[in-house]
Structures are given as structure tokens and as C-alpha cells.
């Protein structure tokens, strides 16, 4: 049950978080999740009803108001987006605490369980919760599919979207609403802090593997789902390991692997690519130099001692290995105990390299 719910939540938040990530609003989820608290508390205060639907509506309204305020402050004053976000987030949360502590002092003390929305309680997930997530997730996916083209243009070129007649304002509101809804649903399972990770991390990981929007969104959803599944499974097996944090650890692991090893962008991948470049450059240099030196002698296959080569390239460590590789490929040959010379094939190759360099100059 918990595993099913967590993976569904991971899927939905991965899909929707991608858009926040690409719009550089990764922390919007953080703001919305904190801001939902006064909505939940006020909804209960006004209705005295603890049914999830009413609380969710309250949370969504507060979250929506918060994201509207953030945008308004950032665009109408010199206060920047980050400060506006932090301000709205913490002030809303403070108001939420006020209402919550007010409720606590009421004689009927029926607020019990409201703080579940604050810290999340994956282990208390019920079939109803899963139904809610599925319905909301399904609706968001349908909305994404219907507005795919508009959203895509809006994200990558807001100005252009406006020019060709899409209402940027409307798409912005729809995207924000989708994120608000996802956060609000996830809040009671993942808790405030972990919900922001659920939005950011899958997208950040998926971004490293692809440049396309569709593959990225799908991959983010998949990674979110996988982490949700893995995290909840591990926390089920190990005693006293809370589910939410376990999911975050899995997500962070996915991010770390992606940042390090993703082809094309990952750090290790880049290091390897740089090393390979340098090696091929060195091979070219050695072949060309051997050719140049041999031209001063009787034969193009005149040998030169390793000691000389070592003196020529003091920065190359593993010169012998490089030469051995070249020998294996048939470009150089070892003469005597420590002399190296070009083969005819090597001379041809070196001439070709030299020609290419001259052509470039």
C-alpha cells in the first residue's frame, strides 16, 4: 500500500516537477508546501470538518495565493524572486502556526491529525489517499497532454509564445495550479521538506540524460516512481527508518549518479572525454614529431631512442604505454632495445595529420 502510493506520488511529482525545474522555479514547491499549512488550518477552523477534500481545497487555495503573491512581489518591486519566495513561505507558515495553536487551545481539541499534513506520514497511507493521488495525477497528465505544445513553447520561449497568440499568463497559471495540486496531495504523505525534494530531484536527475522535453519529463516521472518504490520498500524492511527521508535519500542517489555519470553532461563523463581528447592529441604529436625527425635522416623509418622522446615530452606520463598502443596499431615499431621508429603506415598517418593541421592554419 505504502509502496504503491509512494511510487504514484513520485511519478506525478516527477512529471510536474520537470516544468518547475526548467522554469527555474524549483523552490516553488517548497513555498507552496509551507504555505498550504494556513489553508489547512483555516479550512478546518471554518468548517470544523476534517474530511481530506475540504482540507485539500483549503491547502490548494493557500498555496495558489502564495504563488500569486510571490510572482506579484517579484514583478512589482525591487525585492527579488528568491526573497519574495522565502518571505511568503515563512510568513504563511507562521500564520498557519498561529491558527494551529489557536485550534489546539479549543476545548474540543479536534485539531489532532492536522499536523499530519505538516510532517507527512507515509505509513498512514490509506486506499482513499491512493485513489486521490491517482485521480489528481491522471487529471494532471491529461492536462499536460492537451496543452503539451503550448507549455513547451511557453517554457523555452515565453516571448514567442505570447507573439503567436498563446496567453502566457494563462499557461503560467495552469502550470502553477498543477504544481500546487501535486504538492498539496503529496504533502500529507511526504511532508513539507520532502515534498520539495520530490519535485526538484527527479527533474534534476532526468535533465542530465537528455536534451528533449518529452524524454526528460518521462524519465523524471520514472525516476520519481522508482525512488518512491525503492524508498518505501527499504523503509519497510529496516525498522525505524521513516519513509519520507528514505525516499529523499534514494532520490539524492539518483541525482548524484546522474550528475556524475550521465553521458554528455556528467562530471566523470566529461573528465573521461577530456582525457581521451588529450590522448589522441598526444598520439598525433608523437607521430608527427617522429616523421619530422626522421626526415633529417636517411630513411623515414629512422629510429629514435626512448630517452630522447622522454626529454621531448616531459609532461607525458606513460609514454611507453602510448608507444606500445601505437605499435599494436601498426604505426610505430620498436627497433633494438629502446629505439622507436615509424612504420610506412605510421609515416602516412603522420603526414595526413600534419597536412590537416596546416590546412586548418
Amino acid at each position: 500500500m505504502v509502496a504503491l502510493g509512494s511510487s504514484l506520488l513520485g511519478l506525478v511529482s516527477g512529471l510536474l516537477g520537470s516544468f518547475a525545474f526548467l522554469r527555474r522555479q524549483s523552490l516553488l514547491g517548497d513555498a507552496v508546501s509551507h504555505a498550504a499549512l494556513p489553508g489547512i488550518a483555516l479550512a478546518y477552523l471554518l468548517t470544523r470538518d476534517k474530511s481530506p477534500l475540504i482540507l485539500l481545497i483549503g491547502a490548494a487555495m493557500a498555496g495558489w495565493l502564495a504563488s500569486y503573491l510571490v510572482t506579484h512581489i517579484a514583478s512589482h518591486s525591487r525585492v527579488k524572486y528568491d526573497a519574495a519566495l522565502g518571505l511568503v513561505l515563512s510568513v504563511f507558515f507562521g500564520i498557519g502556526l498561529m491558527v494551529l495553536s489557536f485550534l489546539q487551545k479549543q476545548p474540543d481539541s479536534g485539531q489532532a491529525g492536522l499536523d499530519r499534513f505538516l510532517f507527512g506520514q507515509a505509513s498512514a497511507m490509506s486506499a482513499d489517499d491512493i485513489t486521490t493521488i491517482s485521480i489528481i495525477g491522471g487529471l494532471s497528465v491529461i492536462a499536460l497532454l492537451l496543452l503539451w505544445k503550448e507549455i513547451k513553447i511557453f517554457i523555452f520561449d515565453e516571448g514567442f509564445a505570447g507573439v503567436i497568440g498563446y496567453s502566457a499568463n494563462k499557461i503560467d497559471k495552469i502550470l502553477t495550479s498543477l504544481i500546487v495540486v501535486a504538492v498539496v496531495v503529496g504533502l500529507q504523505i511526504a511532508g513539507v521538506v520532502l515534498m520539495s525534494a520530490m519535485l526538484v530531484a527527479p527533474a534534476a536527475a532526468a535533465r542530465q540524460w537528455t536534451n528533449g522535453l518529452k524524454p526528460m519529463v518521462l524519465l523524471a516521472g520514472f525516476l520519481g516512481m522508482l525512488s518512491g518504490l525503492a524508498g518505501s520498500t527499504v523503509s519497510g524492511l529496516v525498522p525505524r527508518l521513516p519513509t519520507g527521508p528514505a525516499i529523499v535519500i534514494c532520490l539524492s542517489f539518483a541525482v548524484a549518479v546522474s550528475l556524475l555519470f550521465a553521458p554528455g553532461r556528467g562530471l566523470v563523463w566529461n573528465l573521461f572525454a577530456r582525457w581521451r581528447n588529450r590522448q589522441s592529441l598526444r598520439r598525433e604529436t608523437i607521430l608527427i614529431d617522429l616523421l619530422e625527425m626522421a626526415r633529417g635522416h636517411d630513411s623515414i623509418e629512422h629510429g629514435h631512442s626512448l630517452a630522447v622522446l622522454k626529454l621531448m615530452y616531459p609532461e607525458i606520463r606513460g609514454l611507453r604505454g602510448l608507444l606500445a598502443d601505437l605499435e599494436k596499431e601498426g604505426y610505430v615499431v620498436k627497433k633494438g632495445s629502446s629505439e622507436w621508429a615509424l612504420t610506412p603506415a605510421g609515416a602516412e598517418k603522420a603526414a595526413a595529420f600534419a597536412e590537416r593541421i596546416e590546412a586548418k592554419q
Binding site: 527579488k80 526573497a83 518571505l87 513561505l89 507558515f93 500564520i95 502556526l97 520532502l194 535533465r207 525505524r240
Partner: protein, 369 residues
Amino acid sequence: MMHAQLEVILVAVATSIACAVAGVFLVLRRMALMSDAISHAILLGIVIGFLIGGDLSSPLLIIGAALIGVVTAGLTETIKRTGLVKEDAAIGLVFPLLFSIGVILISRLSGDVHLDTDSVLLGEIAFAPFRRLQIAGLDFGPKSLAVMIAILLMNAAFIITFFKELKLSTFDPSLAAALGFAPWLIQYLLMGIVSLTAVGAFDAVGSILVVALMIAPPAGAYLLTDRLSAMIWIAAAVGALSAIGGYWIADLLDVSIAGSMAAACGAIFLLIYLFAPQSGLFSARRRRTRQRLEYAVGMLLIHLRNHENQPEADYERSPAHLENHFRWEPVFARKVVKRAADLGLIEDQTEKLSLTPNGRHAAGELITR
């Protein structure tokens, strides 16, 4: 009881001033959300400090928390530097991880430790007077008051000592680097200060409200002044005001003090946002209206001058014609005429507008400008 209340207010004021002055630089450096990240991540530092020190009042807790704060800043910076994700995402990746590790450690330990997530996130300032600082049998007031005053003094000393460096590296990091000021060193010192302040404050108000105290007063002050030193003073004043106002509201409604302090911060910011003399929402709107009117008066003067002593002058200078000519709403046209007449630039002689000498001069200046 009166005494205890006063002590709570003093703790609240010291906390909010300490947070506000540190927050000024976060807001100006666009690092406001680092306060959010650090205030969450220090949970891990506190847990680690507790594991080593084995005691909730051990100074190791503060050291651990401050170190984790700096680590948070460093990790965020490192991830951002790779260029693989943007800064906002880097923050969003780092602090949930550190926080989660903290939560897991706590729940592994729970049972034999009284340290739970709620108290870290929420804090309870009302208990401040019960923990006393006693040295050699003498009572020196609440412990958290002493801690917060020490942190406040530390922040003040930091800002005074490094004011020039902070100012330069905040407003022109490249120049600071070129002059050899080591902006990264200032950066990490600042992060250390923010962490220490957050640790001290979390005890009183909880980690999320630290964010309110660090961001809202400086953001409000930012709307009121262009000078760094003035901004620091205003932020401190706004912080103190929020603390007192928040305590007063909490006392009146019998609700969480920390929560109402944050709400008071928000309320004061809202007032500034709406009514600030220069950049407030209303004064900006008023300024736009006034500029529009003044521009229209200028147009009117030039129009009258162009047609002065021309055959069509009588037609062109009737107020009714202006509505057609400039496509002004009748109400607006009347306002423009009235404004120009009030300024002594035109005379309204029953349906015929004519320039006064002053008005002619002003029109000439507008044309040649």
C-alpha cells in the same frame, strides 16, 4: 509573571534583530533562500553534535550546526558551479538530503533521546524564561537571552569589522575579487554567521520562522532606502517591531508566539509594500498618474503655442476640441486644463484657452529641450 513576559519579549527582540541584520546581506546577494536551506540543514548538525557531545546543551551542537550550515552553502555552490543545474535547483537538492539524514538519525536514536523534529521545526519561545543561566549561584536571566545577545553582538562585530568588504563583495563581486578582497572568504564567513544565528534562533522560534525573521525585515527595509547602512538599521527596527507586535498579538489571541512574530513580519512588510514613499505599490501608481497628467499638460502647452496667432487659433483652443485632438477622455481633459490653470500656465477665458507668459515660456522650453 510580568517579569517572565518581559524576558520573552527581550529574547524575541534580540533574536529578530540578530536575524534581520544577517538577513540584509542574504536579501541583497539574492541568497535569501540559503536561510531556508541552512535552517533546515542545521538539524543534521545538531544531531551530529548531540551524538558526539551526548548532551542537548553541549556547545558541540552549536558548532556542529554552524559547520553543517557552511557545508550546505559549500555543497550548493559546488553543484551550481558544475553548471549542470541552476542555483535554485541546487538549493532544493541539498537541504532536503541533509534534513532527511538528520531525521533518519533522530528516528534511529529516538526512545533514548528527547529530540524530535517538531521542536526543531517549531521551537517554543514561551519556555525561554524557564531555562536560566546561572553562574556561581547567580541568576543571569534566561539562557536563550544570553545566547541571542552574544550572537547579536557577534553579528554586529562582523558587520562593523567587514563593512567595506561586505559592501563591495555584495554590490560588485568582480571588483572585490580584482582588488584582492577574497569574496569567497566573505561569503563563507557570512554563511557561518547565518548558520550560527539560525542555530541560536531555532531554539527560540523554530527553523522556518528564522526564515521569516531573516528575510521579511530586510526585504521591507530594501523598499525604504538605497543606503546599505540605513537598510541595516531599518531592518533591525522592523525586526524588533515585529517581535514586540508579534508577542502582543500572541498574548491577545493566546496563540503561538513564533507564529505571530512571523505573521507580524509579514504584516509590516505588506504595509511597506503598499505604502512605501518611493517604491510602494500605491505611491508607484500615484506617481504614474501624476506623470501622465504632467505629460498631458506639456502637450497642451505645446499645442496652444503652435496655434497661437494662427487663423485657426480660436477653433484649436476650445476645450471641447482637445478631447478630439488628443483623444482624451472628457474627465481627463478637464483635469489637464484645471492643472495647467492651477499652475498659472494657461488662462481659461470662457471656452477659450490662452497661454500666460509663464506658459509660453514653459512651452518654449519643452520644445527646445
